[in-house]
C-alpha cells in the first residue's frame, strides 16, 4: 500500500510526493485542503483508496496534463483533457470497478450462488432468450 498526498491549488491537482518507481498494487491519494479557504476552491480532505494496475506515474501524468478552462474572473469552470488520457482514465475506472466487483462477488460466492453454464443456457433457451 502506498500513500500519496496531493493538493488542489485552485488551478490543478499536484502530487506532493515523487511517484514511486515500482508498480503499486494499491495507492491512497489524500487531497489536502487549500490553505486559502477564502478562495472557495479548497477541497475537503479526503482519502481515496483504490487498487489499480495503472501506475502512479501514469496517474500523476494524467492529472498534470489536465487543462483548466477559466472564466473571466480567473476561476476554473471546466477541464479539458486529451482523448487518449480520457480513455486511459476510463480504463482505470473500469479496472477499479471490475476489481471491486470481483472481490465482492468472490467473497459472497458459495455453491448456492453458482449455476452450471449448461443449465443456465437451457433456462435462457426455455425463456426464448437464446
Amino acid at each position: 500500500m502506498i500513500a500519496v498526498k496531493a493538493k488542489f491549488d485552485g488551478r490543478s491537482i499536484k502530487l506532493l510526493e515523487p511517484p514511486p518507481s515500482t508498480r503499486p498494487a494499491s495507492v491512497i491519494v489524500t487531497f489536502l485542503p487549500d490553505e486559502d479557504e477564502a478562495s472557495g476552491l479548497a477541497l475537503k480532505e479526503e482519502t481515496v483508496e483504490y487498487q489499480t494496475p495503472v501506475t502512479q506515474p501514469e496517474l500523476a501524468d494524467l492529472v498534470d496534463k489536465v487543462r483548466l478552462v477559466l472564466n473571466t474572473d480567473g476561476r476554473p469552470t471546466a477541464v479539458q483533457m486529451d482523448i487518449a488520457d480520457w480513455l486511459a482514465l476510463m480504463d482505470w475506472l473500469e479496472d477499479v470497478e471490475d476489481i471491486q466487483l470481483m472481490r465482492e462477488r468472490f467473497r459472497e460466492r458459495s455453491e448456492r450462488t453458482v449455476t452450471k453454464w449448461e443449465d443456465f443456457e437451457a433456462e435462457l433457451k426455455a425463456d426464448g432468450l437464446l
Binding site: 483504490y50 476489481i99 470481483m102 435462457l124
Partner: protein, 100 residues
C-alpha cells in the same frame, strides 16, 4: 486440451438476461468459447488481491465479462457482465472507497 467446466454466478445471470438480444447471443458464445480457451488473446488478467484464482476480463464490443480460471479444478466462473463506459458513474464515490 481438456474443456473447462463453466459456471456462472447468479448475479451475472441477471446481467446476461438483461442484455439486448443480439448482444446476449454474442456474449453467450464468447463465454462458451472460454471453456476451450480460458485465456484468449482478447482477455487480460485483473490484479485482485485476496483471490488466489486468476481473475480475467474479456471484452466483447462495449461489454466485458469478468471471470476466474481455476486450472487445478478445470473450472471457470463468470462473475459479472458489464457495459463499458460511458455509463453512469453515480456510484463513483463508493467505487473509489472500495473496501478490502
Amino acid at each position: 486440451m481438456a474443456s473447462y467446466k463453466l459456471l456462472i454466478e447468479n448475479a451475472a445471470k441477471a446481467e446476461v438476461r438483461a442484455l439486448p438480444g443480439q448482444v446476449r447471443q454474442r456474449i453467450a458464445r464468447a463465454i462458451l468459447t472460454l471453456s476451450e480457451e480460458p485465456q484468449p488473446h482478447s482477455s487480460r488478467p485483473l490484479e485482485v488481491h485476496g483471490i488466489t484464482l486468476e481473475a480475467r476480463r474479456i471484452r466483447i464490443d462495449r461489454w466485458r465479462v469478468i471471470y476466474t480460471v481455476d486450472p487445478q479444478w478445470k473450472e471457470i466462473v463468470v462473475y459479472a457482465v458489464r457495459k463499458r463506459p460511458p455509463y453512469d458513474y453515480a456510484d463513483l464515490d463508493a467505487l473509489l472507497k472500495g473496501t478490502e
